[in-house]
Symmetry: C2
């Protein structure tokens, strides 16, 4: 299992099909799980993909359309039945209150855990969550209702200690943490051993960006510039660009254009409209602008 991966639970759009489920993804960063969106059926997909419910403490909701949030009541009820204790944090546009609070009132009285709702200002690119290993930023999008994407930025990891050097200088354990974080070591005799003789540099910190739902919106480019993986919606084909514009969605060509401008390392497209029988043409279109575009699919695990 990779250190950092993205699991696609659903990558369809609003209308259900036999091929695609409503939007949901789970980001796994060193066995801690973070969910983006929670369409109807998400908890069933978690079971199917054997994703551990108790590793999930944060859910990020991009916008309050049903295909991105109608799975929340069921998932929260299930957490309750499983006897969850840990707080569940939901980061979402403020409209979430109007949706969830009446449901909590009716279905989730006496829940065994706390649900903490954090309002996200969808008009700003801002840090919205931080823990030991991760920072999550909002990315303002352009949709029919307030909507934002999310940038998952892994924090710089600690350097690797060169064990032989630590042994050679007989460095006491209490100094190891600071050395892994970049400090030099000063011997009892006052000799300074520079950090680069004691450590090997850590792997580069990685970044994942999720952008759905949105009209073609090049102003996001600076926020997703150079990310290791970009998920961008590609609801329509270019032949339906008019419909994309009307409904504030993106075509496969436009999604690839964003990826190209932002010089991302990899692009995965999803949120495919039910009007197409398969997603092959989405890939053909996107590949012309951003070769090697990946088509999202249910059950897919994308290592960063």
């Amino acid at each position: 299992m990779a250190d950092f991966d993205v699991r696609i639970l659903g990558c369809g759009s609003a209308l259900p099909t036999t091929r695609h489920m409503a939007t949901s993804q789970v980001i796994n960063l060193r066995d801690k799980l973070y969910m983006i969106d929670c369409g109807e059926g998400t908890q069933v997909q978690m079971r199917q993909m054997r994703i551990k419910f108790n590793r999930l403490n944060h859910i990020f909701i991009s916008h309050l359309h049903g295909d991105h949030c109608f799975g929340l009541p069921g998932l929260i009820s299930t957490f309750g039945m499983l006897g969850r204790n840990a707080a569940l944090h939901i980061h979402a546009p403020k409209e979430i209150d109007q949706y969830l609070l009446p449901i909590f009132e009716m279905f989730n009285r006496g829940l065994s855990f706390e649900v903490c709702i954090h309002h996200v200002d969808t008009t700003k690119h801002a840090l919205i969550m931080e823990d030991r290993s991760l920072q999550v930023y909002s990315i303002p999008l352009n949709h029919r209702v307030p909507a934002c994407g999310f940038l998952f930025a892994e924090k710089q990891k600690e350097a690797h200690l060169i064990k032989e050097m630590a042994d050679f200088y007989q460095i006491p354990v209490k100094f190891l943490r600071s050395i892994k974080q970049g400090a030099d070591y000063i011997t009892p005799e006052g000799e300074v051993i520079p950090n680069n003789r004691l450590t090997r540099p850590p792997e580069a910190a990685k970044r994942y960006a999720f952008c759905s739902d949105t009209a073609y919106h090049p102003s996001i480019v600076p926020f997703v510039s150079g990310v290791d993986l970009l998920y961008h919606e590609a609801t329509f084909l270019e032949e339906d660009a008019g419909r994309a514009r009307e409904t504030f969605h993106t075509t496969a060509t436009q999604a690839a254009e964003i990826a190209r401008q932002a010089k991302v390392k990899k692009l995965v497209i999803g949120h495919f409209s039910a009007r197409y029988d398969n997603d092959r043409r989405h890939k053909e279109e996107a590949d012309k602008v951003f070769p090697g575009t990946i088509l999202a699919n249910e059950g897919m695990v994308l290592p960063l």
Copy 2:
């Protein structure tokens, strides 16, 4: 395709498993569809089972627990996106308002069709819906929240006209309808041709009863007496009868006991708890009391 059948979309209980979906069934009576309960994922199951969305005009909700109603918002939104015009009738305990009205307000403004909510008094056995071919009655159940089952009683069909006799007497077309409904024919000469010489009796009208969720509740026996098919919940095995009592659910043995007392023609059990790895023992248990008990399963079609 049978004239009258029951399709199992989901027959699990509250916790999702990889084997069973949350409760939902569709009753097909001469190509008109009626839904009972609408757990999360119901609309996806409809797609999988190729059940036509536009044939469904009535949804019956047994009680307001999430595993019986969390699929409603998604299904209603999908009807809207499909451009539905026909009114959708939802028959449910009055608590449905508290659940659905805020969701309509937020997600379903300007819906292309009318949603008519009909409150069902779960304390009474009463006629709650009637159309040309069907009567639906409520069946009071005993659960932690107001809950009722539903009896689907097909109306007596018309008799079959014996074409040779109609030709022999040269009966004008305008009389045929009343003859099929039981009238005698009086010839222009005043001769009375008794109905039983003109028609063959129709097939017997059939009845289906759905009882879930409920504690063992023998007072339902008169309401389901002699039905062609009874679906009864059997959440637990008899070894967990204590847990069944505490949670107002039924064991497989108890479900079979209801079927035996009511002398139903066939019994199908469902709403299986996630605690069991398979449903084999439910069948073994029920078969001892009511031989030939059927285990519900997703995708099953039960002709009456």
